[in-house]
Symmetry: C2
Subunit: 121 residues, 2 copies
């Protein structure tokens, strides 16, 4: 079945909650998710998969135990599987995530910021 074109800005306008990824497309068993970030997330890791962040608007940082990577709009970053990381954004930042279906945002850490999974917009 053919889908329509998916306009990222229109999809971003559909929600306001932060740290709660929304699925916009599937590629085989991978999902493309939009998420809005602001403030500090929790340290966590994904033991089974890498995770791609593509910053669409704003700026974020990805903290690792040994360094921090700053990501500007138009920059893509691959968080390797098994590596602890902690996203942070001073002002709200919009990100396109790509990862296998079923990945939970807080990884093995869980906690209050764990979002519902597989929420489509």
């Amino acid at each position: 079945m053919l889908n329509a074109a998916i306009n990222l800005q229109e999809k971003l306008a559909c929600f306001g909650d932060q740290w709660s990824p929304k699925v916009i497309a599937e590629l085989n068993d991978y999902q493309f998710k939009l998420v809005k970030l602001q403030g500090e997330f929790v340290w966590h890791r994904h033991d089974q998969t890498d995770e791609v962040f593509l910053v669409l608007a704003g700026r974020m940082s990805m903290a690792f135990r040994d360094r921090t990577v700053v990501l500007e709009s138009g920059e893509l970053f691959v968080v390797p599987k098994g590596i602890e990381h902690k996203p942070f954004a001073e002002a709200e930042c919009s990100v396109l995530l790509v990862e296998p279906r079923g990945v939970v945002n807080t990884g093995e850490a869980g906690g209050a910021l764990t979002a519902a999974n597989d929420v489509w917009i």
Copy 2:
């Protein structure tokens, strides 16, 4: 191993050839590729995988046997596996492709526009 942030505009400035995808990142066994399109490609399909197109600059069309989808900058589209398609762009268009490692640009069709695979920039 941690990689650096990948700036899409800087990567796009690294090459000029059209219809020749360049790998910029890997997510597990999936690749993120940049490609510049202009003119008409060949009808082809990928029998084993879906394929994601995210238009970064310009405008393209994706022809299917029963309709054509226009994709503007900032729009994402999933070409389902097994479905014949033919990209077209009147003016040069820059696209981020996401698909499994090993996918050839012309799919089962082959021909003169078949690009070298797994070329990193």
